[in-house]
Symmetry: C2
Subunit: 198 residues, 2 copies
């Protein structure tokens, strides 16, 4: 059997949080599920080896909607016409709360994962991408939290083990969609880059 | 005045091609403009210092639709409620063909840019991300082409100066949305990463 250093056995989950998140005024709200958030983050997750993509919403109707979308692609007509999409969306698990996602991930990994939030602003408890990439490589289970709307609530940010640095170029502007941010962060943490390929 | 090596003066445009692209059977088609392709790639473009985001479609009605979406956010009510979104979408220029986009970019840069395609499969004329990142850093103008639907047609791929390697993790699965792919590639070429920050 290969050791973890030879076969990293990546253990990374992602969670998309629809509650509690901020609205534009910094108030805590629950946001609506968006079809392309499901597709894009599932496709990126599947590409980079994510185990489970937790879609968190406390609203029953929104859970049903998300379940119907996923079902169409994993068991309905969508699965027939596009098996790759079926494969991607099969990593989605809809749940009611962050506590449920954390509990599910902990049970699966056999230990509590390192919970990392993402935020468009620099936070105090920031952990570098390169360091986290290394910890993942050595087999540490990680749960990455992404916030919809104007981002994760400050209460939510206060409970995590660390926060990844905001994504930026050299412009000072960093208003990425959560789909873009999740894709970029997965590539930074799990992507095979030139230096690894050569 | 600063030299380019001190102030790189990034000159990067992106183009989203709706024709000519492949359908699932490898036939050349024209695809439909998608609202979130405009938003997500404009937001990533603005974040990473892209000059112009060319949205290429030969269909008049699709050009009008794209123009109306952009207009809502840059001059309409959208600009009032979300100035950051206005700023992002202001880099969009809708045009009828790749030739028009290339001509516009060439005029703006004062020279023909290096035209790079992106593709989910490895091509012969591949150029590494690290090399292109360096060439951009030293001021070379670059136009990045992204294909919608099942990707750029082979005729299109044959005309470019080079192709970027497919994005991948260690899974063998790489069915990313064009929104995710564009975001990740901009981050690889123009992002400020840990090693640069420290």
């Amino acid at each position: 059997m290969l050791r973890k250093t030879e076969n990293p056995g990546v253990q990374v989950d992602v969670a998309l949080v629809h509650y509690p998140v901020n609205n534009r005024n910094g108030e805590t709200i629950g946001s609506a599920v968006t079809n392309l958030d499901l597709h894009d983050i599932a496709r990126a997750g599947k590409t980079y080896g994510v185990g489970t993509y937790w879609v968190i919403t406390p609203f029953k109707e929104q859970q049903e909607l998300a379940g119907q979308i996923v079902g169409h692609w994993t068991h309905g007509y969508g699965a027939v016409v596009n098996p790759d999409r079926s494969s991607a969306l099969s990593i989605i698990s809809v749940c009611a709360s962050y506590a449920d996602a954390l509990s599910g991930a902990t049970k699966k990994f056999g230990e509590k994962p390192l919970v990392l939030a993402t935020c468009a602003n620099m936070q105090d408890n920031t952990l570098e991408y390169a360091k986290i990439r290394e910890r993942i490589w050595y087999g540490e289970p990680v749960l990455l939290l992404f916030g919809t709307a104007w981002g994760l609530s400050s209460d939510m940010l206060a409970t995590v083990d660390g926060v990844l640095p905001p994504l930026c170029g050299s412009t000072g502007f960093n208003h990425l969609s959560v789909r873009s941010a999740a894709s970029i962060i997965l590539d930074r943490l799990l992507g095979v880059h030139d230096s690894v390929e050569s």
